[in-house]
């Protein structure tokens, strides 16, 4: 999806390939080339991060961290032989997974009893339906519902689903990005679809019972 401000970018930039734009930005500090690259990929990169994190503020931080690294590391670590966006996605993926793992690491359930409020970790957990309520309001209902189900998948299955469905990434690239074999990536997708099918069925059953 392209932003409205893409009108400021000359037409010839829109016709260039990613690698040409990257070359212009690296060698000639061409800001328009960088803007065109952002316009092409920002929605998919952001969607991937947001779908994994499900929180606007954190997604914003990780998105900014990703592109700050892209800008500062492009001269040192990006090899122009490879696809630029695959390199960017690797940075986004690593930053996202780092965040998820840090979150897991820092929640110490057993020792989190709060003397003041006399509550334990579970009591302080927000109601599931209220998580990211503000964020969900900006999304359409079906996307919001799908993201809610996807967020319940194990991390590695969620990653494959999002990379494939948001980013339309081939399984070969997903396998490279996540450091697994292509068969493992395909297997994770199969389990993810089976798990989601169960969730959809349960949801459907609930709705039927409510009626």
């Amino acid at each position: 999806m392209r932003l409205n401000n893409s009108d400021h970018i000359p037409k010839n930039y829109e016709q260039m390939q990613d690698k040409e734009l990257v070359h212009l930005f690296r060698k000639k500090d061409d800001q328009l080339a960088f803007r065109e690259l952002m316009n092409r990929h920002q929605a998919k990169v952001y969607s991937y991060i947001f779908s994994m994190i499900q929180n606007r503020e954190v997604a914003n931080d990780i998105f900014q961290e990703t592109f700050t690294k892209v800008i500062t590391k492009m001269d040192d670590t990006y090899n122009e032989q490879g696809k630029w966006i695959a390199w960017v996605m690797r940075i986004a993926h690593n930053a996202t997974i780092d965040h998820i793992r840090k979150q897991k690491r820092f929640v110490d359930v057993t020792s989190s009893y709060d003397e003041e409020s006399k509550t334990d970790f579970y009591e302080r957990l927000p109601d599931e339906d209220s998580i990211g309520q503000h964020d969900k309001m900006e999304l359409d209902e079906s996307t919001s519902s799908l993201l809610k189900h996807i967020s319940k998948l194990p991390e590695e299955q969620r990653t494959v689903v999002m990379l494939r469905h948001y980013y339309e990434m081939p399984f070969k690239e997903i396998a490279e990005l996540t450091d697994v074999s292509i068969n493992t990536a395909l297997g994770r997708m199969r389990y993810a679809l089976i798990n989601l099918r169960k969730m959809f069925d349960e949801e459907h059953e609930k709705e039927s019972n409510n009626l």
Binding site: Q42, Y46, Q64, T68, T143, L147
Partner: protein, 197 residues
Amino acid sequence: MNKKDIRSIAYLYNEMDPSEKLEFERDLNKDNDLLIEVESLRNVSEKLGKIQSVEPPQELIEAIHGIADKRNGTAKHSYWRTTLYATAALILIGMTSGILLLESSDNNSPGETEGASINTPILFDNPTSTSTSINRSGKVSPWVDNNEVIHFQDRLHASENAATDSIFRKSFQKLTPVTDPAESRSLPRNLHLTGNR
């Protein structure tokens, strides 16, 4: 997970080559359970296809553009700094070379040569270096080396004999020839002079 299990996913997401795809479709026609699994997975996959992409906030994009602009500024700054250092280095090299050249030319200047010729007790030419010190312009230019030895050496042309003889005559007023000039009449003419009488 065995290969059989992942075939349905590879088929759904077009990850099969044409021959594998053909074989899998043949199996689908024969195996109803496989057909049901593929269709149910396709149903879930199609639902996932409805996920809409989420746009990042515009202010976030502007902030990132700002970071990219700063990188541009840093690169320019770094370019100017490099240019400045290169220019300073060139000036330093130029000045050093200039000083060395000046010192070198001071040692060879005719004025000092004259002074040296007065104070130097023994003056003589160096026939071995004749080939390297020939004055291409045809003029005879006496010079003093680091050992304060005055040198007269050149390839003389008939037209310049008068000027050379004038230098010789002036030298004879203050210096004594080391060797008999008559012995060195043959070309190249060698003249050894000394301050001792």
